[in-house]
């Protein structure tokens, strides 16, 4: 049983650290910011889950598990916030390469909102227009 747990710990820790390496390779090789954002989220959720599970099993302790669950839950809550803010900032500036996108559903919304008179309300968007096939 001890050997089995040790092997499990080894597999979990190595897979978790592999996620960090994958994120580094993705950050280095992907062509633009939006694809790099995709790579950067790999160690945040799955990598930390694996590493925390490996650590808790290796320490053979129940007391550390609530703290690690708290850390992981915080990661789950904060990762979307920072990703949203970075993506938003990239979309609003020139940093996100928009010409490489296959479909840009936000563009029509932005155009409608910016061309509409300033009434304080968001104009109606026809969902048919914003689909991936819309031109």
């Amino acid at each position: 049983m001890d050997l089995f747990l040790d092997v499990l710990v080894a597999v979990l820790l190595i897979l978790g650290c592999l996620m960090s390496l994958i994120a580094g390779i993705g950050l280095l090789t992907f062509p633009d910011m939006l694809t790099r954002m995709h790579a950067a989220t790999k160690p945040q959720v799955l990598g930390f889950l694996l590493i925390f599970a490996g650590l808790a099993i290796h320490l053979r302790s129940w007391t550390v598990i609530p703290v690690l669950v708290l850390a992981w839950a915080m990661q789950l809550l904060t990762a979307p916030v920072s990703a949203h803010m970075i993506g938003r900032a990239g979309y609003r500036t020139k940093h996100a390469a928009k010409e490489t996108l296959y479909s840009d559903e936000l563009r029509q919304v932005v155009e409608k909102v910016s061309s509409a008179p300033h009434t304080g309300t968001v104009p109606e968007i026809d969902p048919q227009e914003t689909g991936p096939d819309a031109k």
């Binding site: 994120a23 580094g24 990598g47 930390f48 290796h58």
Partner: protein
């Protein structure tokens, strides 16, 4: 057994950290750098977890929690200022 595992994991984390540092140096935009530094913080937290596993203690667990909790503030703050750059 755990020594070998920590050596392997340390190498993986180190290579990931080097890749992140190269991306921080190359840019091209500040958002890429912030993204890479975010991953660097995660790698540091993972390294602390490895150290706790190697020496069988839980001294650094609070730092890991703190890094996970407030680590996003940096990227949110920087992105906020980048958005305002458009009107400048």
């Amino acid at each position: 057994m755990i020594e070998v595992v920590v050596w392997i994991c340390g190498s993986l984390l180190g290579l990931g950290a080097i890749a992140c540092l190269v991306r921080v140096a190359k840019g091209p935009s500040i958002l890429d750098r912030v993204l890479a530094l975010d991953v660097m913080l995660l790698i540091i937290s993972a390294a602390l977890c490895l150290e706790m596993a190697l020496n069988r203690h839980t001294d650094y667990v609070l730092f890991v929690v703190a890094a996970c909790t407030i680590g996003f503030i940096g990227s949110v703050t920087v992105s906020r200022y980048v958005s305002d750059q458009r009107n400048a």
